[in-house]
């Protein structure tokens, strides 16, 4: 019997190694796998590269992981938030490397990784300083940049419902990066508000088929708050 549901955070976080590339779902605080991030803090892996749209707010969650010195590089589109105090301090002190990627290019690099496409050309970023060091080619009359796939060792995602095969649904705009990142890592770990019986999810509503998911942890935390 296939059963991807794990019973403890320790089981969920097993085998995340030092130096791992960790994909974190969420856009701001919505759809962000906060419990799994806290689990990763507890688990202890270090020298991490984190891929996340934002770079942490206040001193909890991702910001806490940064503050503990466990992240050597962050790849994101928008490090500025209402309270990016931890990230900005580390960045100014030269203690963290930052790779800024246009948001859509980041999403597509992740998608490409999950879809077995090593690289693609896109017009986004041509003529800007983010084009530095990238191969440029004119295709069908339009200048484009070569962007490489962005794969993770681990993806931490937040779902609304899950079953034991790892099929996932999402809620409203909490979908965001989660289904894309779920496809792009060797090990995908989901936290879900609801665990349902196999067969209970409407196949038409499953946004992430279980083939992409390795572990599911039940985290019924209630409603998110915007930060």
């Amino acid at each position: 019997m296939i059963n991807k549901i794990v019973q403890s955070m320790a089981q969920a976080m097993a085998d995340i190694r030092d130096g791992a590339v960790v994909l974190l779902g969420g856009f701001g605080s919505i759809g962000q796998p906060n419990a799994l991030i806290d689990g990763l803090i507890e688990q202890g892996a270090k020298d991490l590269t984190v891929v996340s749209n934002n770079a942490g707010v206040g001193r909890a969650g991702l910001a806490r992981l940064l503050e503990l010195g466990r992240v050597c590089k962050i790849i994101c589109s928008y490090p500025r938030t209402v309270d990016p105090v931890v990230f900005e301090g580390l960045y100014r002190a030269g203690k963290i490397e930052l790779e800024i990627v246009p948001q859509g290019t980041m999403a597509e690099r992740l998608r490409a990784a999950g879809a077995g496409i090593p690289a693609f050309f896109t017009p986004t970023g041509v003529g800007t300083k983010l084009a530095a060091g990238k191969e440029q080619r004119e295709i069908a009359g339009r200048k484009c940049l070569l962007e490489e796939a962005l794969a993770g060792d681990v993806a931490l995602v937040e779902a609304w419902e899950a079953d034991r095969w790892g099929n996932l649904t999402y809620r409203s705009s909490a979908r965001n990066f989660n289904p894309v990142m779920a496809t792009a890592a060797k090990l995908t770990i989901a936290q879900a508000q609801h665990i349902v019986d196999l067969g209970a999810l409407d196949p038409e509503k499953i946004a992430t088929p279980g083939i992409y998911v390795d572990r599911v942890l039940h985290v019924p935390y209630g409603e998110p708050t915007v930060t």
């Binding site: 589109s77 900005e88 990627v101 859509g104 896109t122 800007t128 705009s173």
Partner: protein
């Protein structure tokens, strides 16, 4: 600033309302964070314009009543919003495929500078920005069929935001088609800035005095 004493510049709200007047029914439109988000408030509900938010929302509606908030539904500015009848959700790669694939009729963005060749600078004001944040600006600027800019005509210190060449880091090359400022509405044409409309009490000569690139009236 004396040159502007005789006219009444548009407020942010009036600028947003002015942009909204030009958006026809049936368009798919993305509004950048900040002032452009207000444009949606000025499109009457009976004129069906479909607003897109980069975080995977198509058919975004207005801010909800406090007792009707869906805590999983925010816009790109991380504010609570609603979903109109007919709206849909998608993941981030699809949301930006929609942008990059040229499916949006229009994107309205804020800006620091626009050049007479349509170059856009709207994400960073320095080559040495402490931690520059680009978000979806480059994707939107390169992908939407049309880019309009909503911004003040001058900086707080009185420098023109309409320039011959941008001095701030660029977001995209040659993409801006129209600019709505507190003083005027202008098109970007192959011959440079062409003025469509000036606020009451202001002449083209006076507008030119506060603009560092040459202006002409639209033919």
């Amino acid at each position: 600033m004396n040159a502007l004493a005789a006219c009444k510049p548009r407020t942010r709200n009036e600028m947003a309302a002015r942009v909204a007047r030009d958006i026809p029914e049936g368009w798919f439109v993305n509004l950048g964070i900040g002032a452009p988000l207000q444009v949606a408030d000025h499109v009457p509900a009976e004129r069906e314009v479909v607003f897109h938010s980069e975080n995977g929302v198509l058919g975004m509606g207005p801010v909800p009543e406090p007792d009707r908030i869906n805590r999983w539904l925010i816009n790109a500015g991380k504010q609570y919003v609603t979903l109109r009848s007919g709206g849909s959700y998608m993941h981030h790669a699809d949301s930006f495929a929609l942008i990059r694939g040229g499916h949006l009729d229009l994107c309205v963005l804020g800006a620091f500078q626009v050049a007479e060749n349509g170059d856009l600078a709207n994400w960073s004001t320095s080559e040495n920005d402490s931690a520059p944040a680009v978000g979806g600006a480059m994707d939107l600027a390169a992908g939407a069929r049309q880019v309009w800019v909503l911004m003040d005509h001058q900086t707080k210190s009185g420098e023109s935001r309409l320039v011959r060449r941008c001095t701030y880091p660029l977001t995209a090359l040659g993409v801006v088609k129209r600019i709505y400022t507190n003083l005027a509405v202008l098109d970007v044409t192959p011959e440079g800035f062409a003025v469509r409309e000036i606020v009451e009490g202001l002449t083209l000569d006076t507008l030119q005095e506060v603009t560092s690139a040459p202006l002409r009236m639209l033919d």
